[in-house]
């Protein structure tokens, strides 16, 4: 039994400490940037990745000129400074323009940067992983209780507390630090005292990006720089900052220590996925302390309250509905098999986006992990087919039920939170499911997923499956629309606009939101199930961040304040992708830039922009 061997325990604890150090250095930058700018910078993981690539490229060249520990560490530092300057560029070009925007737009815009960086990194550094050099002077392992332990890891263990100390000194003992802490609390007041916030924010971004770059650069002797680093580190860094309390540096340190140890020893409990343990920690901490260890409630928050307003019913909507049905039904008469396939997918994603609209536009619940339920529906259906051999007619409801169940479970935690903590919790939930689908190979097929998920014979073929999809989508959208216009929908909107007032008139806000979460999850699950049968297979990417962001982008594109927005957005995004993707290998760059452009040009959404314009004229 290895667990009882003290040497094994010691080495596990030490490697836990070293990953805690690395994690802290990166997460510390994220939490400082959030504290001052109130922006959760999705691109922080991209900066970490750039740090690793830069160091893995730069340090070997420097070592060729002059081999030695000084050169190695100087190279690491230079890489971090370069990343810091990239952070400054991002601040000046993008973040500066979205400080006042709703957090949904901030998250989307910085995710746009993630997409752009993913393609740029491949362009600049090439598609292959880059293995960095080992640190001169630290190549020999040390012996700890008779076990060999890499000496570089010991340096990393020291690096975390050193960075904590330096950051502490910077924040406590310098004018810059005092101003940063003041701005964390009250930006307007700092400006009223004559402080140039723009400079302060740029400085903060430099510091945050520098720390991300340092975190990444320090990894090069341990892991090769690769294109998946950004999203894997950002998920962990989010957990650390949320558990520690957004904006709290000591909180991030404590959380990183705990998570490092949990990961080191979690493999004894869940050998495949230590992320599950980490997620449980986050869920427990947020259930007890909704703002993490040292976080605090947002002052004057509620910037996410953009959504659907009440409107009188359209005249002749029965007729419009009939026309829509007729157009949907007649489409196979004019379309070929390819167009039908595209239309089927657009309908599926429209349903998916519409279910998210119920959460965001109506409930004000900014979910960043809605793919979890889309994926659960798809996997639920596929697993039922694979392991129990059930038919499509049974598998679709089973997938829907699994998604609703998952939404019920996640929602129980999620509805206790608000704002950015809520977004992070939903993101974490989706990442956990992604990890489970990816790593539980015996059941889910891992990366390959599950194949052979075909519809029943009556529904197979492009035309029947298209018609089935159209019918299910239409029925579900109408049901959801009915829910939005029912008293339940009014209650959700009331809670979205003012939680305190909604509670004061007797609405049980949490229960309503929980129910909404389950309904939205079920609808997303249905979409996922239909999607699985349309492709004949499922794979973990259905649960990934990109799928969640796709749904959000569709909402943003179509307009968050409208009911038909997500439907239009799904068609637009899907159509654009089908059109652009074959033309270029840089579609992520284009998609990222488009998301950023949308956020910058319509920072308050299309409808908000029009309203502002109208208001200014009046």
């Amino acid at each position: 039994m290895p667990a009882l061997d003290p040497a094994f325990l010691a080495v596990q604890a030490l490697s836990g400490l070293s990953s805690a150090s690395s994690l802290f250095i990166t997460a510390c930058g994220l939490t400082i940037v959030f504290g001052v700018t109130r922006i959760v910078n999705f691109a922080h993981g991209s900066l970490y990745m750039i740090g690793a690539y830069t160091a893995a490229t730069l340090v070997p060249r420097l070592l060729e000129l002059s081999f030695g520990p000084v050169t190695f560490w100087a190279g690491i530092l230079i890489s971090a400074i370069i990343v810091g300057l990239i952070g400054v560029i991002i601040e000046v070009l993008l973040l500066r323009r979205i400080y006042g925007a709703p957090e949904l737009f901030q998250l989307l815009a910085t995710f746009g940067v993630v997409l752009v960086v993913q393609d740029l990194v491949v362009q600049v550094f090439g598609p292959q992983d880059i293995l960095g050099p080992r640190a001169p002077g630290l190549r020999a392992p040390v012996e700890i209780l008779g076990r060999r332990f890499p000496s570089y890891e010991l340096v990393l263990i020291a690096a975390g507390p050193i960075v904590l100390g330096l950051v502490w000194l910077l924040l406590r003992k310098t004018r810059f630090g005092v101003l940063v802490r003041a701005a964390t609390q009250d930006r307007d007041m700092v400006a009223s005292l004559g402080v140039n916030q723009a400079l302060l924010f740029t400085g903060t971004l430099f510091l945050g990006a520098f720390l991300a770059g340092l975190g990444g650069a320090l990894q090069i002797p341990r892991v090769s720089a690769n294109t998946g680093m950004d999203l894997s580190i950002i998920a962990e860094a989010f957990v650390v900052t949320v558990v520690g309390g957004m904006g709290s540096v000591p909180g991030a340190f404590l959380a990183a220590l705990i998570i490092g140890q949990l990961q080191a020893f979690g493999i004894l409990i869940f050998p495949k996925s230590t992320l599950v343990v980490v997620f449980l920690l986050m869920a427990v901490v947020l259930a007890i302390r909704p703002y993490g260890f040292f976080g605090r409630a947002e002052i004057g928050g509620g910037t996410h309250a953009v959504g659907i307003a009440s409107r009188s019913p359209l005249p002749g909507r029965g007729l419009i509905l009939l026309i829509v049905i007729a157009v949907l039904a007649a489409f196979p008469l004019v379309a070929d098999a390819y167009l039908l396939k595209v239309a089927t997918e657009i309908l599926i994603f429209a349903l998916f986006a519409f279910s998210l609209q119920l959460l965001i536009g109506v409930g004000g619940i900014v979910s960043f992990g809605h793919a979890a339920f889309f994926g659960l529906g798809a996997y639920g259906a596929a697993l039922a087919v694979k392991w129990y051999g059930v038919s499509m007619e049974a598998a679709l409801p089973l997938g829907l039920a699994l998604a609703a169940l998952g939404a019920g479970l996640a929602g129980a935690f999620v509805v206790r939170l608000s704002g950015i903590y809520l977004a992070m919790m939903t993101l974490a939930a989706a990442q956990i499911l992604y990890a489970v689908a990816f790593q539980w190979v015996e059941v889910t097929g891992g990366d390959n997923g599950i194949v052979g998920v075909w519809p029943s014979s009556w529904a197979s073929g492009p035309i029947p499956y298209y018609l089935l999809t159209a019918a299910l989508t239409l029925i579900t959208v109408l049901l959801l629309k009915r829910i939005i216009d029912a008293p339940f929908g009014y209650a959700l909107r009331a809670a979205r606009d003012s939680e305190a007032r909604a509670e004061a008139i007797g609405l049980k806000v949490r229960q309503h939101r929980w129910l909404a979460f389950m309904i939205a999850g079920a609808a997303a699950g249905l979409a996922g199930g239909i999607y699985a049968f349309s492709r004949g297979s499922v794979d973990p990417s259905l649960l990934g961040i990109s799928t969640s962001v796709d749904a959000l982008t569709m909402l943003l594109l179509g307009g968050i304040q409208t009911v038909v927005g997500p439907l239009v957005g799904a068609a637009a995004l899907h159509g654009l992708r089908d059109w652009i993707m074959p033309l270029t290998s840089l579609w992520r760059l284009l998609l990222g830039l488009s998301i950023i452009a949308m956020v910058l040009i319509f920072p308050r959404g299309l409808v908000g922009t029009v309203r502002d314009w109208w208001g200014a004229r009046a």
Binding site: V178, R181, A182, S192, G194, V195
Partner: protein, 237 residues
């Protein structure tokens, strides 16, 4: 009469579509204390905020020391030498007294001796005893003193002071009055927004009465004190 330190004309402000200030025009001379008085909701706070550029929708026509404030961001207005103490004080509660003072520090114009923490501790002796205390462990009155001291650290020529007597103990109100007289003695002009009529009357040279976003009276304090009918109508005293 010399050129005014702060000159405001046709100041308008809006919250959404609702107009809350209508064409306010007034002047603040160097070294004087002018009271902006009026009922709750008359627009006093909004006036100060609009001058500082903290109200999103305002038509700001103002000059300070002859320089237009119209398109300046808040921090540049403050750097011209116009200090602002908001009504809710907005102390940085995570920062100590000394750190709060540090946030306000700006160099003094040439030829003037700058405000230092030591000088300010003499002006507000209570603060001297709690230099390393955090803002969240201070009473309302102590926070008010700190807010004023913090703004003085910027060595302003004028201060917009919003409701310094609100919600604090009478003995501290007395100290506030003395502090304002001390500032005046140092040559700092004060635009004082106040609901506490007795307090305002005791320390101000001139007064400006606002009612529903419009100026009803402008003149010397003595003149306003003589006009009891106007006081009763606009101030309810």
């Amino acid at each position: 009469m010399t050129a005014p330190l702060l000159e405001v004309w046709n100041l308008c402000a809006f919250y959404g579509r609702a107009q809350v200030l209508f064409d306010l025009t007034f002047r603040l001379q160097a070294g004087e204390v002018m009271a902006l008085v009026g009922r709750n909701g008359a627009g006093k706070t909004t006036t100060l905020k609009a001058i500082m550029g903290l109200v999103a929708a305002s038509a700001r026509q103002a000059t300070f020391k002859g320089q237009s404030l119209a398109r300046l961001p808040t921090y540049k207005i403050a750097r011209l030498g116009l200090g602002y103490v908001p009504e809710d004080r907005r102390i940085f509660t995570d920062l100590t007294v000394e750190e709060n003072l540090e946030t306000g520090r700006r160099p003094a114009p040439a030829g003037r001796s700058p405000w230092t923490p030591e000088r300010l501790f003499r002006l507000f002796p209570n603060l001297a005893e709690m230099r390393t205390r955090r803002g969240n462990q201070m009473s309302g009155g102590e926070q008010q003193m700190l807010a004023i001291a913090r703004t003085l650290m910027g060595n302003p020529d004028a201060i917009l002071l919003d409701e310094p007597s609100e919600g604090i103990a009478p003995v501290i109100v007395q100290m506030m009055a003395e502090a304002i007289r001390a500032m005046k003695a140092e040559g700092v002009a004060v635009l004082l927004s106040e609901q506490n009529w007795a307090f305002a009357a005791g320390i101000s040279d001139r007064a400006c009465v606002i009612e529903r976003g419009e100026i009803r009276f402008q003149g010397s304090m003595a003149e306003l004190m003589a006009n009891e009918a106007l006081q009763a109508e606009t101030l309810g005293v």
